[in-house]
């Protein structure tokens, strides 16, 4: 982790990512940014705000409404030695550009016998909780982890938004950077000016003795609230995975060896999800460390419905997490 000191300030996720882009573009001429509405307007989420003015239209530009073209252009540009960063406006829309991502970007290096580097970053908001219904609420992190050739990053803190995005951009491989829309208004006091966070290092967000809870992205916040609510009765250790591929199994194992209990919480459907994979890795690595069955609290195996009453029922709420923690520590 590199750090430079600065005066204290508060930062939100979008600003943090915008700073990361700005610094990356400033420090490396090969970093370029494009996508729908990403030029003059600065992106519908304001991700590229001010960057076209600063770095010119050759490095920051709008595109037609054509995700397959955007993803392909990103891949080709990376093959040519640039370091592109693109935005896909919602991760759900990646369904129209899976081929350049899955069959091309994630495989070109391997298929060419290592001849190419693919330094590219895809930034996309994800997640449910905004009443935007089934086609604007998915995350797909499990798919991207199942796909070899792509790294997967899902920050939960403003600090990580910036630090991990900088590292993602600097990485010589395709990185999927998924940020949860419900974190949009998160605000954190920050004292540093610039920093990076390495890929593949989980963070212990709360130390505890009774149970290990692994989560990432928005759900980390809910897990921490649930853990706080149970304070005094159950001592929970909360691990924020931060990057899902590479995944920091060591930190999880260390904790499980201490607590003997494992709960994974995520919002995406449970079937073939990230939780299942964490359970697999833990039981394969150290079965005897577990005092009881590990458990995955995931979103329902359903699309996300529109109405708030239904949506809430489909994704883990704080009360659900508390209940599962209690069940596990009975």
């Amino acid at each position: 982790m590199t750090t430079e000191m600065a005066t204290a300030r508060t930062l939100k996720p979008i600003q943090a990512m915008n700073e990361a882009l700005n610094e990356a573009m400033r420090d490396d001429e090969s970093v370029v940014v494009f996508g729908e509405d990403m030029g003059a307007y600065g992106g519908v989420w304001a991700l590229s705000k001010g960057l076209q003015k600063k770095y010119g239209k050759l490095r920051v530009f709008d595109t037609p409404l054509s995700e397959a073209a955007i993803m392909g252009a990103c891949t080709g540009a990376a093959m040519a030695g640039l370091r592109p960063v693109i935005e896909i406006m919602y991760v759900d829309f990646m369904m129209v550009c899976m081929d350049p991502l899955v069959n091309q970007a994630a495989k070109v290096r391997f298929m060419s016998g290592g001849a190419f580097k693919l330094p590219m970053t895809i930034v996309a908001p994800c997640g449910a909780g905004t009443c935007e219904a089934a086609q604007h609420s998915q995350s797909f992190e499990a798919w991207f982890c199942h796909l070899p050739g792509l790294k997967v990053v899902m920050p939960s803190t403003v600090y990580d938004f910036k630090g991990l995005l900088k590292t993602s951009i600097a990485d010589n491989n395709p990185v999927m950077f998924l940020w949860h829309k419900v974190l949009y208004d998160l605000e954190e006091p920050i004292t540093e000016e610039t920093w990076t966070v390495p890929l593949g290092q989980a963070a212990v967000r709360r130390e505890g003795e009774d149970v290990t809870i692994v989560s990432y992205s928005l759900m980390v916040h809910r897990v921490l609230e649930a853990a706080a609510n149970l304070e005094g009765r159950i001592s929970s250790e909360v691990i924020d995975a931060r990057t899902l591929d590479p995944f920091d199994l060591d930190t999880v194992l260390k904790s499980v060896r201490k607590t003997g209990r494992l709960l994974v919480v995520h919002e995406s459907p449970g079937r073939c999800g990230m939780g299942a994979d964490i359970v697999r890795r833990v039981v394969e690595a150290d079965f005897t460390a577990l005092k009881c069955a590990p458990h995955v609290l995931a979103g329902k195996d359903m699309p996300i419905p529109f109405a708030k009453s239904l949506e809430n029922a489909c994704i883990p709420q704080i009360a659900d997490i508390e209940r599962e923690i209690q069940n596990l520590t009975l």
Partner: protein, 324 residues
Amino acid sequence: SMHFDPDQLKQIYATMVRIRLFEQKAIEIFAARIKDGDFPGALHSSEGQEAIAVGAFSQLRPDDYVFSTYRGHGHAIAKGIDLKKITAEIHGRATGVSHGYGGSMHLFAAEMNFMGGNGIVGGGMPLALGTAYAATMRGTKQVTVVFFGDGGASQGAFHESLNMAAIMNWPILFMCENNQYAATTHVSMNCPIENIGDRAKAYGIPGPIVDGNELSAVAEATREAADRARSGGGPTLIEFKTYRHRAHCMVIPEHRPGKERRYWNQNDPIDRLGHQMIAAKVTDLAGLEKIREQETRNIDDAVAFMQSSPMPDPAQLEGMLYDH
């Protein structure tokens, strides 16, 4: 050109006003809900594009298939779907057209062959192939109408769908509502030639370019294309030139050139039709005002219905995913 009798015209005008008022009321209530700390979801206003929906449906059969978009309130209202159920849906009530599972972007009415809005730009076009094929196979002479925007025409799905429809000679009306912008992006960043309609030539099909703010022009182009499709003449791409009055959705403020705005404000489709009706002595200003008052009451009734409707019950979720 198109002939409408006075009653038809008044009904058409009323429907256009209904859409306009619906959109305005929706924004008003959403804004209030947001102010209350509630995030009610995305809302896409079709203000300024009313003549397309209403003109088109004035010429279609009730059993024709329709694929709409996330900007689909106008399509649903023009199709004649119960205003109360549309209002209930966009506020996530159990009484909504999709029982609160779809929301504003996913208005469905299976019994009317209204095959749904779509949150994916261009997402309806490939689906339209399927209903058009079904109608062809069954010999029902139903046409399929699919709406999309100037941005949607840049999706690969546009090409694949027009191409397959042309080759198969399937009865589809590809309705491109070119409202000049895709989110904040001007159409010139989505189409390097002047008219999206001219792309029809790449598929050997007709591609009329129509003033989308002129009710009768919309109706005429739709009638022509629908007649052709029904009689085995295959698909048509119709480009409607129009203008979206509002920003893409509530949370993305857009800057537009003042001159452009003035031009299109002067060409507002409702005002235009109103003037024409007065000029043709179909009605007078007071008559138009009476229509507006009636539609305001309709909207208010729908809102009241929505407000008294229950939220959907999560207990029903389990049975919803699969047909058993």
